[in-house]
């Protein structure tokens, strides 16, 4: 019983270490691929469209309702001690520093990360990735590099939209629905919001974008075992990407926002 348990822990630790090793090698190959011609410009633009533009509707809805509920909750809470004038600051700071990057990253992971893993996984089990190699094409460079670049660029771009729409959602609830003063809200927003809140949030977003594309592509690229394997890869991509986003968020925040 005890030995079984220790074996299980050993196997789990070994699995994690092997995974980190493999993903580091993949990252190295991806980074090398970015700077080596031919540059996959058309492929990258297509992925930017897929990850960025096509995620817009769901990101917009997430952003507006997050901003709205933040305003609603903080307004009713702050009212208890007469601080409702600070709702604007709370919404602006929460959106730019924390919720904008994290929620957008999680939503885009669920959408684009899952589809990446499923697509690459299917290509693996139907030998399309082998076929690429036989046609003298490096599959990491052709398939993963464009997705990695697109994720790293488009997630911060989406977060800019999330920040603005979230703040507007907060404004709508506070000013229109709860009839608080428009000028107070905007003043509270601008007085306490600093440029570094915004760009540190965007740095986090870029990191999350790189992380979820790398993990999702890794899961898809090394899929084994038919349709079931593709399913496992897709689930794994979303689970591990989300965990990576949430865990790294704490450490990035601790480092960036001193």
């Amino acid at each position: 019983m005890l030995i079984k348990f220790i074996e299980w822990i050993g196997a789990a630790v070994e699995g994690v270490i092997i995974g980190i090793g493999k993903i580091s090698i993949l990252l190295y190959n991806v980074l090398r691929g970015i700077f080596k011609p031919p540059f996959e410009i058309k492929n990258t633009l297509r992925q930017m469209l897929e990850i960025g533009v096509n995620s817009l509707p769901v990101v917009l809805i997430t952003a507006v309702f997050t901003g709205m509920v933040l305003a609603l909750q903080s307004y009713t809470g702050f009212k208890r001690f007469g601080a409702e004038g600070l709702v604007g600051s709370i919404v602006a700071l929460s959106m730019t520093r924390e919720l904008g990057p994290v929620l957008t990253a999680l939503i885009v992971t669920g959408r684009a990360g899952a589809s990446m893993a499923a697509e690459l996984g299917t290509m693996r089990v139907t030998e399309q990735i082998d076929a690429l190699e036989t046609l003298a094409t490096n599959p990491v460079k052709y398939l993963i590099v464009p997705r990695f670049i697109a994720g790293t660029i488009m997630l911060p771009a989406l977060v800019v939209v999330t920040d603005i729409i979230g703040i507007l959602g907060g404004y709508f609830v506070t000013v229109v629905l709860l009839n608080a003063g428009s000028r107070t809200y905007m003043k509270a927003t601008w007085d306490f919001l600093q440029a570094e809140d915004i760009y540190n949030g965007l740095i986090k977003a870029a990191f999350f974008g790189a992380a979820f594309t790398l993990i999702s592509c890794y899961k898809g690229f090394y899929t084994k075992g038919g349709a079931e394997g593709v399913g496992r890869a897709t689930t794994g991509a979303v689970v591990y990407s989300s965990m990576a986003i949430l865990i790294s968020d704490y450490f990035l925040s601790a480092w960036l926002f001193k």
């Binding site: 139907t126 399309q128 082998d130 076929a131 190699e133 046609l135 003298a136």
Partner: protein
Amino acid sequence: MIELKNIHKSFEDKQVLRGVDLQVKKGESLVVIGGSGSGKSVLLKHIIGLLRPDQGTVMIDSTDLLALDEDGLNEIRKKFGMLFQAAALFDSMKVWENVGFGLKRHTKLPDAEIKEIAVQKLKMVGLVNIEDVMPSELSGGMRKRVGLARAIAMEPDILLYDEPTTGLDPIMADAINKLIIEMREKLDITSVTITHDMKSAYKIADTIAMLYNGVIIETGSPDEIENSSNEIVRQFVEGRAEGPIVLEGIER
């Protein structure tokens, strides 16, 4: 032209190849036969560098495949065409884009010209007016033909066929056999085919080699293989369940 020496390959604890020696001369059509799971596909993948052996050497035209870096390997892969078992067409691209993929990547030809070449290659494998169709709309036999058109698009010296007739009806299978013979005659191509379809093997092979238990146990002309005195070879080519070959996981 192709020379494999003492190839060993294991996956985790399973030893698949245990010292394979194989030679293919220029212009020759070699067919490797062997049961399911005997490592035929693994062997084929070593010839084009999709897998690296744990031990042994692979020489292509006196170039050591294992000594090449990525660019060198890609350079030598341009000499190859490979037809995959389920065709492995890129399902996000139209048929002509599949066929013209290599040309698009490795030449500066304009799209219109690539499409023209693709149409011509498709015609060679007996397909017309499907260049703008998506692969998902094709039948199994048509997919294999498109796969073959893609394999010959760059005018390779060597063609590798991974079970070209598996999963096809007998008539379509024979049509594919004919195409393989035609490719060799028209294009003067060296080819390595793996299959367990003996009818196909007899038809397309100059030489047949049997892979069993991770080694090549016999090599010969189709006639020699058909009349082999080796019990294992006899059992396989005659397709009997009884004999020295142990079927994995089946008790008798």
